[in-house]
Amino acid sequence: MIKTSRRSLLATALAAPAILSWPARAQARTIKIALLTPLSGPLARSGELERTGATLAVEDVNAAGGIKAMGGAKLELTVADAGASVEQVTAAAQRLVADQDLVAGMGAWASSFTLAATEVSERAKLPWVTLSWADSITNRGFRYLIATSPPSSQILLAALQPLLALAGKSAGRMPSTIAMINDDTAVNQSNMVPLRNGGLEKLNLKSVMDENFTPPLSDATPLIQRLRRAKPDLVLLGTTATSDSRLLLQTLTEFGMGQGKVPVLAPSANWGTPEILKNLGANNLEGVIGVAGNWGSKQQKPLIDNLCHRSGEPWLVQDTLSNYGHVLLIADALERAGSADRDKLMEALLATDTKEGPAKLFLGGHLSFEKNGRRANPVAGVFQWKNGVPQTVLPEADAFAELTWPRPA
């Protein structure tokens, strides 16, 4: 018979909490990060693509052992719906920042949404990573913000300069006139600022049409009719919603100006989504040139193939790629900070200077940030529709295909 003394019983009782809590302590804690993105409303598809990228990255970071500097802590992703309006984004951001365990946030896709969400995250001192382009995002002196895409003031010029040079060589004459149709969202209006403020003159281009519209379009006929009379050498279509992109290109085709007859340049990732192919068909899209803050690089083909396979997407657009990269960037900063403290994490994010890990997910292959949180020396992705695929054509080091001047089919 085992004898149990009063003393040993007392010792066991005192040790019990420590023994029982042992597995919990041994098990690494989780680090909560959030993605705020539109999952309902007209922009929901873009939000879905963002969620896919972030979810896959969290899976990969956790499968690789989590944040090693923090005892293998696992990342936990909270996804919040940004809805369809700035008011909804603000309310969703306020709900998110109420969670004190949150260490970083990402989102909120459209620049106007990001502008609203970061007003909230900045007050809560929550580090926030975004792919939004509008210059105004990083021009507000915010301290808890990281923007990985090139700003709007650079993004169009990045595509126009090589395109015009190519036109001179390929088409035999430089385009001299441009027609510009843009929706009135923050990003597209921001894109236009450098062109309207002397950029076109520097490129020897004359604007023959500069129209804005409020999305969604019910009919693109009035716009394309004006464009027909303006007879431009080059058309710039700045749209946020896939439905508007489709209507504009479809009407352009209907008016006999599509399929390469008038080259189309579109500064938006939505021009490279699988949905637009499904809606318009490869013929109508052939030759259309798109510009985005990020796109697939041939140097990362195995990774892109792997992500495509796992996500079920035929190719990856900026929304998925950049959000995959954002999670890796936060994980990398957490490794360096060795802490889930928001200030330390923000310090580590700003101190990022790498050509490895997260940098591989961004064109240019080098990640570092300026004081305002904007990526230093960012590189825009230029893609062109070729045989039903939006292939990266610039920068050349990352290109899957060569940029060609669109020709009539």
Binding site: E211, P222, E254
Partner: protein, 318 residues
């Protein structure tokens, strides 16, 4: 801009406004019929149209006619979808709408409008989010060759003035005209129409005359949804849609019904037509951003002069 430029723009935009206006008119006729006969404001009408768009898309995909034949097949599918939505409308009325309308609300203080408002708004949210779960958020449309092609009219003036008439929109507008014409004929020349007009005019008297009022309401709700379903499938042939698309159109529908004159099918159609024309023609003098502003300025101006709507008195109710 030269005279030729102005002339071409005017003719082009006029034709686009007429084609779009016919489809708006069909949508408004559906909503106007429900309101005119039942006095029910159906806020879920846009969402029923969205469901019809998906039904049309899946119907065409099921028959898989290829891009060249997709449009004529879509037109046939639109008629089948209309039948389906007649049934859905009748069932929705039987199961839900009849609880807050008709004989159930006789004598109630607000005529049942509060219940109707909550029910149809709730239904609209359920359908939107259900659609999102079921169909996903990707914008889609019925891929067809007619939407990419147009008939060229001209040259009309010198060599430069030409009008492009989109084939999908033109056929859709014709179908809309036929559907509205048949509805007006049905309302005025058939027994069903007579019963519907009787309950619209005075439901109590209609009961005394042996008309089954609830059944007439069910029929009206079904026809209203069927008309909007035809418009939905037509729009789906050239307009990318997703589960939230209904909201973009429901405001136009209400404006058209009120502008045309509440309670009149023909008036609602003409109200929709006017909205399509104003929306397009405004771009001749205003920035495209102000298209919808122009619509509502005209809307308010008309209501200021004729509170009963443009055709409120001229056209007999329902």
């Amino acid at each position: 801009m030269s005279f030729a430029d102005h002339l071409e723009s005017l003719l082009q935009i006029l034709s686009a406004g007429l084609l779009l206006g016919c489809l708006y008119g069909l949508m408004c006729a559906g909503l106007g019929l429900i309101f005119g006969i039942m006095r029910v404001i159906n806020f879920a009408q846009g969402e029923f149209m969205m469901l019809a768009m998906y039904a049309g898309l899946n119907g065409v995909a099921f028959l898989a006619p290829g891009r060249a034949w997709a449009f004529p097949v879509a037109m046939a599918v639109a008629l089948a979808v209309a039948l389906l939505f007649y049934g859905i409308g009748a069932a929705t009325h039987f199961l839900l709408v009849s609880r807050v309308s008709g004989s159930r609300v006789v004598g109630s203080e607000d005529g049942g409008h509060t219940g109707q408002l909550i029910l149809t708004l709730g239904l609209s949210l359920v359908l939107q989010n259900g659609g999102l779960m079921l169909f996903g958020s990707s914008p889609t449309s019925i891929g067809n060759a007619a939407a990419d092609n147009s008939w060229t009219v001209g040259p009309l003036w010198g060599e430069d003035v030409m009008i492009f008439v989109n084939q999908a929109r033109a056929w859709s507008a014709i179908l809309a005209l036929v559907a509205v014409g048949l509805t007006i004929l049905m309302m005025n020349r058939t027994g069903v129409g007579r019963r519907l007009r009787a309950v619209a005019s005075n439901p109590v008297a209609a009961v005394y005359m042996g008309v089954d009022v609830e059944r007439a309401f069910r029929t009206a709700f079904g026809i209203g949804l069927a008309l909007t379903a035809i418009a939905g499938v037509c729009v789906a042939t050239f307009y990318p849609f997703q589960p939230y698309t209904g909201f973009d159109f429901v405001i136009i529908m209400y404006a058209g019904v009120v502008l045309g004159g509440m309670g009149s099918v023909g008036g609602a159609f003409l109200g929709g037509l006017v909205i399509g024309l104003v929306q397009q023609l405004s771009t001749l003098v205003l920035a495209p951003q102000l298209q919808n502003t122009a619509v509502f300025v005209v809307f308010l101006a008309v209501l200021l002069v004729r509170p009963q709507g443009l055709f409120g008195r001229g056209v007999e109710r329902a």
